[in-house]
Symmetry: C2
Subunit: 162 residues, 2 copies
């Protein structure tokens, strides 16, 4: 096999997600779709990407159930690409990427936009990870456990140890 390795049946959920949009363009297409873009030509114009690549990415995203093809809302005979719930579910991934850049980029002054609370216009907080009981968790407070094991005596590998 010389093909780009597929993570479709990898046991790690991170790898499985990367199988859907682990390339440079898919998440940007989803970003535009979240902003309301639905037509081929508009994706192409806004992202400035080659049309053949766009066509193949759109096809892949439809196959993955992230986009769906619907008749154009303006009544024309053309169709449009609309996000499915699965596609809209990628929103936190985009926020996480955005916040990582905002925090660590070498030239944050080059970043053009801020994600704000629509009602009030103030920047949002950083994404938070909470325990079931509501405590705020840092990376080191979490552990990976085998799925089948429901409740054992904390034998998982520690994250970001040392």
């Amino acid at each position: 096999m010389v093909k780009r390795t597929s993570f479709e049946h990898d046991p790690c959920p991170v790898a499985r997600a990367l199988d859907a949009f682990g390339d440079g363009w898919s998440l940007l297409i989803i970003r535009e779709a979240l902003l309301g873009v639905r037509r081929f030509s508009e994706f192409q114009a806004r992202l400035g990407m080659a049309k053949n690549i766009l066509a193949s990415r759109l096809r892949a995203l439809v196959e993955h159930g992230i986009l769906e093809i619907v008749p154009a809302s303006d009544g024309s005979a053309y169709h449009a690409y609309r996000l499915t719930p699965k596609g809209r579910g990628a929103f936190p991934i985009l926020v996480a990427l955005r916040q990582w850049s905002e925090e660590f980029d070498a030239h944050p002054d080059e970043i053009a936009t801020v994600l704000v609370d629509r009602d009030g216009g103030r920047p949002v907080r950083k994404l938070e990870l909470h325990a079931e009981d509501g405590r705020l968790l840092a990376p080191g407070d979490t552990t990976l456990q085998p799925r089948s094991v429901r409740k054992t005596k904390k034998t998982g590998a520690r994250l970001s140890s040392h």
Copy 2:
């Protein structure tokens, strides 16, 4: 230019982040690093990737300031790759990817691990996005605003409209 387009100077922070790990392997390397992996051979064995690709990814991650080369902790003459704070900051991205798979994957039974609260062993909650005043925000409650504009009368483009 026929090279893979670089987003290094793109105004969108999502694109800038993808410039660092918008390929299939980088985030998996960071995942392993978060689990404590530091040596070339261990990355190679656990990820099962070609050694030349691993070498080039590690080089790129070091250049991006996500990993740093340090003397091996066991006193040997070899060196190790350690996450920088910038690299550890990618943790929420990995969590977002994981939770997206957990929620939308077609075969969730194939997912091997669960992210749990280390102290208690219960699965963590979903990542939450809050407004500055603490309100929980859904995707549609947010807007993108030009960075320079601090406080105007809500003219940003709505996210996930329609």
